[in-house]
Symmetry: C2
Subunit: 344 residues, 2 copies
């Protein structure tokens, strides 16, 4: 933020001036948004559709580090992680509220940059900003977003619908965001020790991009629709493949067999993992922040997904007594375990 | 928190264990709650009703001081302030999400106390907890709540519907929460300087209660319904009477004449204001946190409200060119001004 040329203090605008300034470019586009920012509450009309609601709280120093996260990217990502949860219900996001806590180190220009990112994400995903709250924080930056979406009753996909022998599928590739984070953390350390050394991230665009500006898999919902495919269960990968697959097992009351050799990991991720002396599998299983969709389908639906380059079948669900297993490339059987939650 | 006998570290339960522990007693009661806590998102069904959404972010050290705010009260109040915004739309709250950021100084027992207060408020107002997010904060406590409610299309009351000559009404009395806060702050200072002096708040139950555990005016919505009264505009008083009345003027494009002698201020509030050498009017105009309803009605509806002991008619709306005026008890005319927003 120190390189922002103009600095307007938030106090100069006041709360309501700031909100006006930040939200003036957000024009509601969804017919379901009857009233957005500007009253005690927003008003929505979902006619006879079901309403889907999710929320996330992001805290500076815990979820992001402003030494290497550009403010615009932060705004974008804050929205995307919430939309990803809506898509994971097989629903379509339509509105968000954004609350922000700001210490006095943030200028109006800095906050505006965050909102530019929020705006870009809203535009890309067709979502309306309908409200929020802006306040001081004693220290650092807080972002709390609630996303609201819609679905026909019959479309919703929960975590608990998987059946034994269903195929486990995942979109895209895993572990990249985690390796991007490791790289950014390493370069930060080097920079702090020797500020004259410029970090070279040019060759690591893929993994850094996955960390700083992830996308949510709206495209997959469009695919599902065009294929007439309804997953039996679904979750988005935010905590890592193991943790999130275990959620599907737990909620569906099943076991699983996860095939290590089929877990999709990008070349760039593998290379960076090697530099950090960990395996690509470890990054995929425990890294998190992939925002890919993990879902199960009936075996009879295999034809629908098998030729899609962005969907990998990585195992199958089992009766609960068979346990939750990872089958290694060397064909050894391991207990699938979730890593402790990193934010506590 | 230091006097909590048992201390369980949050890390012992982990994120998911903590959420289970905190939410186990929250059983959805509203038919509109199809799926609460436990999936990527909650699912609601509002049939053909309109959906009303509001959100608030509370930050320790800015919005509350744990030296004198009991955790249970904090949980209760955090919910109530959001419900108040829903009632101010003439709508009925049905669900909330609760996100919390916790530093490691908070034990499971401490967080459970906050949730006890949240639970009490949910129970009292018939609201379901449907989701949230729990994370560490580098420092202090953060609470972000989103409330969702419903209304028939024709019932909704916005800020912008007032007409010239409409009567300005307010529920309850004003300024008490502010004087309660001043008292608590003073006693805190005394205690910090001389810890042996015990604060005597016994005689100040009313104003302290208004600060620590406000209620939202659900009862008024029931009155409106039974009287077939639809206010022309409405807002809840969170920032103070001036600021919130100015919002109604601004959004409705009108002026107003506010009659000082009619502003309802309780005896206890007046006495404490005197101790602090301010007038009751100042506390009412600028104090805030009253969570009373400020609304306008057509003059033809005066009969409906005139005999209710909890409703005061405090002025009327005017054509915009007449300005926004406060008429003092001495019959002098002042410009109505909003105090700067205290949280920046």
């Amino acid at each position: 933020m120190s390189d922002t040329e103009n600095r307007t203090e938030i106090a100069e605008l006041g709360e309501f001036g700031l909100i006006r300034h930040l939200t003036q470019h957000f024009k509601p586009i969804n017919p379901s948004t009857l009233k957005g920012v500007g009253d005690d509450a927003a008003v929505l009309d979902y006619a006879n559709k079901k309403i889907v609601v999710t929320t996330d709280l992001l805290v500076e120093g815990i979820h992001f580090d402003l030494m290497y996260v550009p403010l615009k990217h932060l705004g974008y990502k804050s929205v995307v992680v919430n939309l990803s949860d809506i898509y994971a219900m097989n629903a379509t996001p339509k509105q968000i509220t954004v609350s922000m806590g700001l210490s006095n180190r943030f200028s109006v220009e800095a906050v505006s940059e965050i909102y530019e990112g929020i705006h870009a994400a809203c535009k890309k995903y067709g979502v309306d900003l309908i409200g929020g709250d802006t306040t001081t924080s004693g220290k650092g930056l807080l972002i709390s977003i609630t996303a609201i979406g819609e679905a026909e009753a019959g479309e919703l996909v929960y975590r608990n619908g998987a059946r034994a022998n269903d195929l486990i599928c995942v979109t895209g590739d895993l572990g990249a965001a985690y390796m991007g984070l490791q790289l950014l953390e390493r370069e930060k350390k080097i920079f702090l020790e020797s500020p004259s050394v410029q970090p070279d991230l040019e060759n690591q665009k893929y993994i850094v991009g996955r960390q700083l500006m992830p996308e949510a898999r709206r495209d997959m919902l469009e695919n599902f629709k065009s294929w007439a495919l309804k997953p039996t269960s679904m979750i988005d990968i935010s905590d890592g493949l193991s943790s999130d697959l275990l959620h599907l097992c737990e909620e569906s009351g099943l076991g699983c067999r996860l095939d290590e050799s089929r877990i999709p990991v990008a070349e760039d991720t593998l290379k960076m993992a090697m530099q950090f002396s960990i395996s690509g599998t470890t990054a995929a299983l425990n890294g998190g922040e992939d925002y890919e969709l993990l879902f199960t389908i009936a075996q009879s639906d295999f034809d629908k997904v098998q030729n899609h380059p962005e969907i990998s079948v990585i195992g199958f669900m089992t009766e609960p007594e068979k346990g939750r297993k990872l089958i290694s490339t060397g064909n050894a059987e391991y207990e699938l375990k979730a890593q402790g939650w990193k934010a506590f």
